[in-house]
Protein backbone atom coordinates (compact mmCIF):
# COMPACT_ATOMS: atom_id res chain seq x y z
CA UNK A 1 0.00 0.00 0.00
CA UNK A 2 2.78 2.39 0.98
CA UNK A 3 4.68 1.55 -2.18
CA UNK A 4 1.55 2.15 -4.22
CA UNK A 5 1.04 5.59 -2.70
CA UNK A 6 4.68 6.46 -3.36
CA UNK A 7 4.34 5.33 -6.98
CA UNK A 8 1.11 7.36 -7.28
CA UNK A 9 2.84 10.47 -5.97
CA UNK A 10 5.74 9.97 -8.39
CA UNK A 11 3.43 9.62 -11.38
CA UNK A 12 1.49 12.74 -10.42
CA UNK A 13 4.74 14.63 -9.88
CA UNK A 14 6.03 13.48 -13.27
CA UNK A 15 2.93 14.94 -14.94
CA UNK A 16 3.25 18.25 -13.11
CA UNK A 17 7.01 18.52 -13.75
CA UNK A 18 6.44 18.49 -17.48
CA UNK A 19 5.68 22.19 -17.02
CA UNK A 20 9.20 23.03 -18.19
CA UNK A 21 8.49 21.48 -21.59
CA UNK A 22 5.57 23.81 -22.15
CA UNK A 23 7.21 27.12 -21.26
CA UNK A 24 6.57 28.62 -24.67
CA UNK A 25 3.04 27.25 -24.90
CA UNK A 26 2.20 28.57 -21.44
CA UNK A 27 3.75 31.96 -22.18
CA UNK A 28 1.63 32.19 -25.34
CA UNK A 29 -1.50 31.20 -23.42
CA UNK A 30 -0.76 33.77 -20.76
CA UNK A 31 -0.18 36.46 -23.41
CA UNK A 32 -3.47 35.46 -25.09
CA UNK A 33 -5.26 35.69 -21.76
CA UNK A 34 -3.82 39.12 -20.95
CA UNK A 35 -4.82 40.33 -24.39
CA UNK A 36 -8.35 39.02 -23.89
CA UNK A 37 -8.70 40.61 -20.47
CA UNK A 38 -6.91 43.92 -21.02
CA UNK A 39 -7.80 44.66 -24.64
CA UNK A 40 -10.56 42.52 -26.11
CA UNK A 41 -12.64 42.36 -22.92
CA UNK A 42 -12.57 46.14 -22.46
CA UNK A 43 -13.58 46.79 -26.07
CA UNK A 44 -16.34 44.19 -26.05
CA UNK A 45 -17.66 45.42 -22.69
CA UNK A 46 -17.95 48.84 -24.33
CA UNK A 47 -20.02 47.34 -27.12
CA UNK A 48 -22.28 45.11 -25.06
CA UNK A 49 -25.37 46.12 -23.17
CA UNK A 50 -27.40 43.43 -21.47
CA UNK A 51 -30.05 43.45 -18.80
CA UNK A 52 -30.25 40.77 -16.15
CA UNK A 53 -33.22 40.20 -13.83
CA UNK A 54 -31.64 42.63 -11.36
CA UNK A 55 -30.54 45.38 -13.72
CA UNK A 56 -27.67 45.84 -16.23
CA UNK A 57 -24.93 43.19 -16.19
CA UNK A 58 -21.31 44.34 -15.84
CA UNK A 59 -20.13 42.57 -18.97
CA UNK A 60 -16.41 43.14 -18.34
CA UNK A 61 -16.49 41.23 -15.05
CA UNK A 62 -18.64 38.60 -16.70
CA UNK A 63 -16.15 38.27 -19.55
CA UNK A 64 -12.99 38.02 -17.41
CA UNK A 65 -14.28 34.88 -15.68
CA UNK A 66 -15.28 33.46 -19.08
CA UNK A 67 -11.81 34.12 -20.51
CA UNK A 68 -10.23 32.26 -17.58
CA UNK A 69 -12.57 29.33 -18.13
CA UNK A 70 -11.73 29.27 -21.85
CA UNK A 71 -8.01 29.00 -21.01
CA UNK A 72 -8.61 26.33 -18.37
CA UNK A 73 -10.73 24.41 -20.88
CA UNK A 74 -8.12 24.44 -23.65
CA UNK A 75 -5.29 23.55 -21.25
CA UNK A 76 -7.21 20.59 -19.87
CA UNK A 77 -8.23 19.34 -23.30
CA UNK A 78 -4.56 19.51 -24.33
CA UNK A 79 -3.88 16.52 -22.05
CA UNK A 80 -5.66 14.32 -24.59
CA UNK A 81 -3.17 15.36 -27.26
CA UNK A 82 -0.38 14.62 -24.84
CA UNK A 83 -1.63 11.07 -24.27
CA UNK A 84 -1.80 10.47 -28.02
CA UNK A 85 1.75 11.82 -28.45
CA UNK A 86 2.94 9.54 -25.67
CA UNK A 87 1.28 6.57 -27.37
CA UNK A 88 2.97 7.57 -30.63
CA UNK A 89 6.39 8.00 -29.00
CA UNK A 90 6.12 4.73 -27.07
CA UNK A 91 6.31 6.47 -23.72
CA UNK A 92 3.16 4.74 -22.49
CA UNK A 93 4.72 1.36 -23.33
CA UNK A 94 7.71 2.38 -21.24
CA UNK A 95 5.44 3.35 -18.36
CA UNK A 96 3.71 -0.02 -18.60
CA UNK A 97 7.08 -1.71 -18.13
CA UNK A 98 7.66 0.11 -14.83
CA UNK A 99 7.15 -1.76 -11.54
CA UNK A 100 3.89 0.11 -10.91
CA UNK A 101 0.44 -1.46 -10.72
CA UNK A 102 -1.69 -0.61 -13.71
CA UNK A 103 -4.46 0.82 -11.56
CA UNK A 104 -1.96 3.06 -9.78
CA UNK A 105 -0.61 4.21 -13.14
CA UNK A 106 -4.15 4.94 -14.38
CA UNK A 107 -5.18 6.86 -11.25
CA UNK A 108 -1.86 8.72 -11.24
CA UNK A 109 -2.16 9.81 -14.86
CA UNK A 110 -5.77 10.93 -14.45
CA UNK A 111 -5.11 12.87 -11.24
CA UNK A 112 -1.74 14.15 -12.44
CA UNK A 113 -3.34 15.50 -15.61
CA UNK A 114 -5.93 17.43 -13.60
CA UNK A 115 -3.37 18.83 -11.17
CA UNK A 116 -1.00 19.79 -14.00
CA UNK A 117 -3.72 21.56 -16.02
CA UNK A 118 -4.87 23.47 -12.97
CA UNK A 119 -1.27 24.36 -12.05
CA UNK A 120 -0.61 25.68 -15.54
CA UNK A 121 -3.66 27.95 -15.27
CA UNK A 122 -2.64 29.46 -11.92
CA UNK A 123 -1.08 32.68 -13.35
CA UNK A 124 -4.34 33.34 -15.19
CA UNK A 125 -6.36 32.65 -12.05
CA UNK A 126 -4.19 35.14 -10.21
CA UNK A 127 -4.84 37.81 -12.86
CA UNK A 128 -8.57 37.05 -12.67
CA UNK A 129 -8.56 37.43 -8.89
CA UNK A 130 -6.70 40.76 -9.10
CA UNK A 131 -8.76 42.20 -11.96
CA UNK A 132 -12.07 41.24 -10.36
CA UNK A 133 -11.00 42.15 -6.84
CA UNK A 134 -12.20 38.86 -5.33
CA UNK A 135 -13.48 39.78 -1.84
CA UNK A 136 -11.57 37.35 0.42
CA UNK A 137 -9.03 34.52 0.68
CA UNK A 138 -11.72 31.85 1.30
CA UNK A 139 -13.35 32.98 -1.97
CA UNK A 140 -10.01 32.56 -3.78
CA UNK A 141 -9.55 29.08 -2.29
CA UNK A 142 -13.07 28.14 -3.31
CA UNK A 143 -12.38 29.42 -6.84
CA UNK A 144 -9.24 27.29 -6.99
CA UNK A 145 -11.10 24.19 -5.76
CA UNK A 146 -13.85 24.53 -8.37
CA UNK A 147 -11.31 25.25 -11.14
CA UNK A 148 -9.25 22.23 -10.09
CA UNK A 149 -12.30 19.95 -9.93
CA UNK A 150 -13.51 21.00 -13.35
CA UNK A 151 -10.03 20.78 -14.90
CA UNK A 152 -9.77 17.21 -13.58
CA UNK A 153 -13.13 16.36 -15.11
CA UNK A 154 -12.10 17.78 -18.48
CA UNK A 155 -8.79 15.94 -18.36
CA UNK A 156 -10.74 12.75 -17.71
CA UNK A 157 -12.88 13.39 -20.80
CA UNK A 158 -9.84 14.28 -22.93
CA UNK A 159 -7.96 11.15 -21.84
CA UNK A 160 -10.97 8.91 -22.44
CA UNK A 161 -11.45 10.31 -25.95
CA UNK A 162 -7.72 10.05 -26.69
CA UNK A 163 -7.58 6.40 -25.62
CA UNK A 164 -10.71 5.64 -27.56
CA UNK A 165 -9.44 7.24 -30.80
CA UNK A 166 -5.65 6.60 -30.49
CA UNK A 167 -4.95 8.92 -33.39
CA UNK A 168 -3.63 12.47 -33.35
CA UNK A 169 -5.50 13.47 -36.51
CA UNK A 170 -8.87 12.13 -35.34
CA UNK A 171 -8.35 13.70 -31.94
CA UNK A 172 -7.51 17.06 -33.55
CA UNK A 173 -10.82 16.99 -35.39
CA UNK A 174 -13.01 15.79 -32.56
CA UNK A 175 -11.44 18.11 -30.02
CA UNK A 176 -11.56 21.04 -32.43
CA UNK A 177 -15.26 20.50 -33.06
CA UNK A 178 -16.18 19.81 -29.45
CA UNK A 179 -14.05 22.75 -28.30
CA UNK A 180 -15.84 25.12 -30.63
CA UNK A 181 -19.28 23.78 -29.78
CA UNK A 182 -18.83 23.31 -26.03
CA UNK A 183 -17.32 26.75 -25.55
CA UNK A 184 -19.77 28.61 -27.76
CA UNK A 185 -22.82 26.70 -26.53
CA UNK A 186 -22.07 27.61 -22.95
CA UNK A 187 -22.25 30.70 -20.78
CA UNK A 188 -18.54 31.46 -21.15
CA UNK A 189 -19.05 34.54 -23.33
CA UNK A 190 -22.71 35.39 -22.79
CA UNK A 191 -25.17 34.95 -19.92
CA UNK A 192 -27.93 32.37 -20.20
CA UNK A 193 -30.53 35.13 -20.62
CA UNK A 194 -28.84 36.09 -23.92
CA UNK A 195 -29.49 32.58 -25.24
CA UNK A 196 -33.23 32.57 -24.60
CA UNK A 197 -34.18 33.83 -28.10
CA UNK A 198 -32.66 30.67 -29.65
CA UNK A 199 -34.27 27.77 -27.82
CA UNK A 200 -31.92 25.00 -28.98
CA UNK A 201 -28.83 26.96 -27.92
CA UNK A 202 -30.47 27.81 -24.62
CA UNK A 203 -31.21 24.20 -23.66
CA UNK A 204 -27.81 22.95 -24.84
CA UNK A 205 -26.08 25.63 -22.74
CA UNK A 206 -28.26 24.65 -19.76
CA UNK A 207 -26.97 21.06 -19.76
CA UNK A 208 -23.41 21.93 -20.78
CA UNK A 209 -21.05 21.29 -17.81
CA UNK A 210 -18.90 24.23 -18.97
CA UNK A 211 -21.83 26.60 -18.26
CA UNK A 212 -22.21 25.20 -14.76
CA UNK A 213 -18.49 25.52 -14.05
CA UNK A 214 -18.09 29.06 -15.34
CA UNK A 215 -21.25 30.30 -13.61
CA UNK A 216 -20.13 28.72 -10.32
CA UNK A 217 -16.84 30.62 -10.66
CA UNK A 218 -18.83 33.82 -11.25
CA UNK A 219 -20.99 33.24 -8.18
CA UNK A 220 -17.82 32.91 -6.08
CA UNK A 221 -15.71 35.64 -7.72
CA UNK A 222 -18.30 38.35 -8.33
CA UNK A 223 -21.42 37.33 -6.38
CA UNK A 224 -23.03 40.77 -6.68
CA UNK A 225 -22.80 40.62 -10.50
CA UNK A 226 -23.74 36.94 -10.89
CA UNK A 227 -26.98 36.90 -9.01
CA UNK A 228 -29.93 35.90 -11.18
CA UNK A 229 -27.96 35.26 -14.37
CA UNK A 230 -26.55 31.77 -13.73
CA UNK A 231 -27.77 28.57 -15.39
CA UNK A 232 -28.96 27.20 -12.06
CA UNK A 233 -28.79 27.44 -8.28
CA UNK A 234 -25.16 27.55 -6.97
CA UNK A 235 -25.53 24.27 -5.05
CA UNK A 236 -27.03 22.50 -8.04
CA UNK A 237 -24.18 23.78 -10.23
CA UNK A 238 -21.54 22.64 -7.74
CA UNK A 239 -23.16 19.19 -7.54
CA UNK A 240 -23.28 19.05 -11.34
CA UNK A 241 -19.52 19.75 -11.54
CA UNK A 242 -18.76 17.19 -8.83
CA UNK A 243 -20.81 14.54 -10.67
CA UNK A 244 -19.23 15.39 -14.00
CA UNK A 245 -15.72 15.26 -12.57
CA UNK A 246 -16.24 12.00 -10.70
CA UNK A 247 -17.82 10.21 -13.64
CA UNK A 248 -15.26 11.43 -16.17
CA UNK A 249 -12.27 10.51 -13.97
CA UNK A 250 -13.73 7.06 -13.30
CA UNK A 251 -14.28 6.58 -17.03
CA UNK A 252 -10.71 7.69 -17.75
CA UNK A 253 -9.29 5.34 -15.11
CA UNK A 254 -11.32 2.43 -16.47
CA UNK A 255 -10.22 3.15 -20.04
CA UNK A 256 -6.60 3.69 -18.99
CA UNK A 257 -6.66 0.30 -17.27
CA UNK A 258 -8.27 -1.51 -20.16
CA UNK A 259 -7.04 0.25 -23.28
CA UNK A 260 -3.63 1.60 -22.41
CA UNK A 261 -1.86 -1.16 -24.32
CA UNK A 262 -1.60 -1.30 -28.09
CA UNK A 263 0.23 1.93 -28.80
CA UNK A 264 -0.71 4.44 -31.45
CA UNK A 265 -3.44 3.67 -34.01
CA UNK A 266 -3.15 4.92 -37.55
Amino acid sequence: MREDLRALALIILWDVRKLGRYKFFLAMRFAWFLLQVLVFGLIVAHMVSIMGPQGPIDYYKFYVVGAYMAVLFSMSIMRGHEIVEELEDGLIDYQLSLPVKRRVLAIGRALGGGIASFTYSLPMLLVTVVVLGVPSIPHVILLAIIAFLFASGLVGVAMSVALWLRSGDKLDILMGVSDSLLVRLSTIFYPIVALTPIAIYYYLAKVNPVSHAVDTLRVIAVPEHASGITVSDPLVMASYIAGFTLSSILTAITLLERRIEGGYGR
Partner: protein, 197 residues
Protein backbone atom coordinates in the same frame (compact mmCIF):
# COMPACT_ATOMS: atom_id res chain seq x y z
CA UNK B 1 13.09 22.83 -67.08
CA UNK B 2 11.26 26.18 -67.14
CA UNK B 3 12.31 28.63 -64.41
CA UNK B 4 9.97 28.29 -61.49
CA UNK B 5 8.50 25.01 -62.75
CA UNK B 6 10.02 23.09 -59.88
CA UNK B 7 8.62 25.55 -57.38
CA UNK B 8 5.20 25.08 -58.99
CA UNK B 9 5.58 21.31 -58.66
CA UNK B 10 6.36 21.67 -54.96
CA UNK B 11 3.34 23.97 -54.56
CA UNK B 12 1.16 21.47 -56.45
CA UNK B 13 2.32 18.67 -54.15
CA UNK B 14 1.39 20.79 -51.16
CA UNK B 15 -2.03 21.51 -52.61
CA UNK B 16 -2.61 17.79 -53.21
CA UNK B 17 -1.58 17.03 -49.66
CA UNK B 18 -4.11 19.63 -48.48
CA UNK B 19 -6.95 17.28 -49.38
CA UNK B 20 -5.49 14.62 -47.11
CA UNK B 21 -6.51 16.82 -44.23
CA UNK B 22 -10.19 16.76 -45.22
CA UNK B 23 -11.33 15.81 -41.72
CA UNK B 24 -9.10 18.38 -40.16
CA UNK B 25 -10.52 20.91 -42.61
CA UNK B 26 -14.03 19.81 -41.70
CA UNK B 27 -13.16 20.55 -38.06
CA UNK B 28 -11.79 23.96 -38.97
CA UNK B 29 -14.87 24.82 -41.03
CA UNK B 30 -17.09 23.71 -38.14
CA UNK B 31 -15.20 26.04 -35.82
CA UNK B 32 -15.53 28.97 -38.19
CA UNK B 33 -19.21 28.28 -38.77
CA UNK B 34 -19.79 27.87 -35.02
CA UNK B 35 -18.28 31.32 -34.55
CA UNK B 36 -20.69 32.71 -37.07
CA UNK B 37 -23.89 30.79 -36.41
CA UNK B 38 -23.62 30.44 -32.64
CA UNK B 39 -21.31 33.11 -31.25
CA UNK B 40 -22.29 35.92 -33.62
CA UNK B 41 -26.00 35.09 -33.53
CA UNK B 42 -26.10 35.17 -29.74
CA UNK B 43 -23.86 38.23 -29.53
CA UNK B 44 -26.11 40.02 -31.98
CA UNK B 45 -28.73 40.13 -29.24
CA UNK B 46 -26.47 41.76 -26.64
CA UNK B 47 -24.28 44.13 -28.65
CA UNK B 48 -25.42 47.77 -28.56
CA UNK B 49 -27.21 48.57 -31.79
CA UNK B 50 -25.76 52.08 -31.88
CA UNK B 51 -22.25 50.59 -32.03
CA UNK B 52 -22.88 47.60 -34.27
CA UNK B 53 -26.35 47.52 -35.83
CA UNK B 54 -26.08 43.80 -36.65
CA UNK B 55 -23.21 41.82 -35.13
CA UNK B 56 -23.91 38.73 -37.25
CA UNK B 57 -23.26 40.59 -40.48
CA UNK B 58 -20.41 42.47 -38.87
CA UNK B 59 -18.54 39.27 -37.95
CA UNK B 60 -19.09 37.45 -41.25
CA UNK B 61 -16.27 39.15 -43.23
CA UNK B 62 -13.94 38.72 -40.24
CA UNK B 63 -14.62 34.99 -40.21
CA UNK B 64 -13.61 34.78 -43.88
CA UNK B 65 -10.30 36.50 -43.13
CA UNK B 66 -9.60 34.34 -40.08
CA UNK B 67 -10.43 31.25 -42.16
CA UNK B 68 -7.87 32.24 -44.79
CA UNK B 69 -5.22 32.71 -42.14
CA UNK B 70 -6.00 29.42 -40.43
CA UNK B 71 -5.84 27.50 -43.72
CA UNK B 72 -2.57 29.15 -44.73
CA UNK B 73 -1.17 28.14 -41.37
CA UNK B 74 -1.68 24.44 -42.17
CA UNK B 75 1.55 24.58 -44.17
CA UNK B 76 3.36 25.68 -41.00
CA UNK B 77 1.87 22.74 -39.11
CA UNK B 78 3.01 20.41 -41.85
CA UNK B 79 6.55 21.82 -41.94
CA UNK B 80 6.76 21.31 -38.17
CA UNK B 81 5.69 17.65 -38.52
CA UNK B 82 8.23 17.18 -41.34
CA UNK B 83 11.02 18.60 -39.21
CA UNK B 84 9.96 16.41 -36.29
CA UNK B 85 9.98 13.28 -38.41
CA UNK B 86 13.10 14.21 -40.40
CA UNK B 87 11.14 14.32 -43.67
CA UNK B 88 12.92 17.55 -44.66
CA UNK B 89 16.11 15.48 -45.25
CA UNK B 90 14.23 13.64 -48.01
CA UNK B 91 13.05 16.95 -49.48
CA UNK B 92 16.64 18.24 -49.47
CA UNK B 93 17.81 15.11 -51.29
CA UNK B 94 15.49 15.84 -54.25
CA UNK B 95 17.00 17.34 -57.42
CA UNK B 96 15.34 20.70 -56.70
CA UNK B 97 17.16 23.89 -55.82
CA UNK B 98 16.70 25.11 -52.31
CA UNK B 99 15.15 28.38 -53.46
CA UNK B 100 12.56 26.47 -55.57
CA UNK B 101 11.73 24.35 -52.56
CA UNK B 102 11.27 27.38 -50.31
CA UNK B 103 9.26 29.35 -52.89
CA UNK B 104 7.17 26.27 -53.69
CA UNK B 105 6.31 25.63 -50.05
CA UNK B 106 5.28 29.25 -49.50
CA UNK B 107 3.29 29.30 -52.71
CA UNK B 108 1.57 26.07 -51.61
CA UNK B 109 0.58 27.72 -48.33
CA UNK B 110 -0.81 30.76 -50.17
CA UNK B 111 -2.86 28.59 -52.55
CA UNK B 112 -4.23 26.58 -49.61
CA UNK B 113 -5.38 29.79 -47.94
CA UNK B 114 -7.09 30.97 -51.11
CA UNK B 115 -8.79 27.61 -51.77
CA UNK B 116 -10.02 27.28 -48.20
CA UNK B 117 -11.60 30.70 -48.01
CA UNK B 118 -13.56 30.28 -51.25
CA UNK B 119 -16.70 28.89 -49.53
CA UNK B 120 -16.54 31.73 -47.04
CA UNK B 121 -16.29 34.26 -49.83
CA UNK B 122 -19.32 32.59 -51.37
CA UNK B 123 -21.05 33.00 -48.02
CA UNK B 124 -20.10 36.68 -48.02
CA UNK B 125 -21.69 37.14 -51.40
CA UNK B 126 -24.96 36.30 -49.63
CA UNK B 127 -24.32 38.03 -46.32
CA UNK B 128 -23.43 41.65 -45.59
CA UNK B 129 -21.27 43.28 -42.88
CA UNK B 130 -21.24 46.39 -40.72
CA UNK B 131 -18.13 48.18 -39.48
CA UNK B 132 -17.84 49.38 -35.90
CA UNK B 133 -15.47 52.08 -34.74
CA UNK B 134 -12.90 51.00 -32.23
CA UNK B 135 -11.56 53.47 -29.65
CA UNK B 136 -8.24 55.22 -30.37
CA UNK B 137 -5.35 54.26 -30.19
CA UNK B 138 -6.43 50.62 -30.34
CA UNK B 139 -8.20 51.43 -33.55
CA UNK B 140 -4.89 52.27 -35.29
CA UNK B 141 -3.27 49.07 -34.06
CA UNK B 142 -6.22 46.91 -35.00
CA UNK B 143 -6.86 48.36 -38.46
CA UNK B 144 -3.23 47.80 -39.43
CA UNK B 145 -3.33 44.15 -38.46
CA UNK B 146 -3.24 42.00 -41.64
CA UNK B 147 -6.46 40.21 -40.68
CA UNK B 148 -8.25 43.54 -40.26
CA UNK B 149 -6.84 44.82 -43.55
CA UNK B 150 -8.09 41.72 -45.38
CA UNK B 151 -11.48 42.08 -43.65
CA UNK B 152 -11.73 45.75 -44.69
CA UNK B 153 -10.94 44.83 -48.29
CA UNK B 154 -13.75 42.26 -48.26
CA UNK B 155 -16.11 44.78 -46.73
CA UNK B 156 -15.17 47.35 -49.35
CA UNK B 157 -15.90 44.78 -52.07
CA UNK B 158 -19.05 43.20 -50.70
CA UNK B 159 -20.70 45.93 -48.64
CA UNK B 160 -19.36 49.28 -49.86
CA UNK B 161 -22.63 51.09 -49.07
CA UNK B 162 -22.54 50.42 -45.32
CA UNK B 163 -18.82 50.60 -44.69
CA UNK B 164 -17.63 53.76 -42.94
CA UNK B 165 -13.94 53.06 -43.49
CA UNK B 166 -11.73 56.06 -44.12
CA UNK B 167 -9.16 53.97 -45.91
CA UNK B 168 -9.09 53.62 -49.65
CA UNK B 169 -9.03 50.13 -51.08
CA UNK B 170 -5.74 50.93 -52.85
CA UNK B 171 -4.16 51.92 -49.53
CA UNK B 172 -5.45 48.72 -47.94
CA UNK B 173 -4.09 46.65 -50.82
CA UNK B 174 -0.72 48.37 -50.50
CA UNK B 175 -0.67 47.66 -46.77
CA UNK B 176 -1.62 44.03 -47.32
CA UNK B 177 1.09 43.71 -49.99
CA UNK B 178 3.62 45.09 -47.55
CA UNK B 179 2.49 42.59 -44.91
CA UNK B 180 2.59 39.76 -47.43
CA UNK B 181 6.12 40.62 -48.59
CA UNK B 182 7.32 40.90 -45.00
CA UNK B 183 5.73 37.63 -43.91
CA UNK B 184 6.87 35.77 -47.03
CA UNK B 185 10.46 37.00 -46.61
CA UNK B 186 10.48 36.14 -42.90
CA UNK B 187 8.89 32.74 -43.66
CA UNK B 188 11.47 32.04 -46.39
CA UNK B 189 14.39 32.99 -44.15
CA UNK B 190 13.12 30.91 -41.23
CA UNK B 191 12.31 27.90 -43.39
CA UNK B 192 15.69 28.07 -45.09
CA UNK B 193 17.40 28.34 -41.70
CA UNK B 194 15.47 25.32 -40.40
CA UNK B 195 16.43 23.29 -43.46
CA UNK B 196 20.09 24.00 -42.79
CA UNK B 197 19.93 23.09 -39.10
Amino acid sequence: VMPGAQALMVAYRDLQRFWKYKWWLAGLITMNLADLFIFALVFKGIVRRDVVPDYFYFLAPGIASIAAFAAAFTIGREVMMELRRGFHHYLLSLPISRIDLVVGRILGGVVRGVVYQMPFIALLVILTGVLARFPEPLYTLIVNNPISIATSIYRAIFTPEIVHDAHQVEVLLAKLTLWTITLVVVGAILYDRNLKS
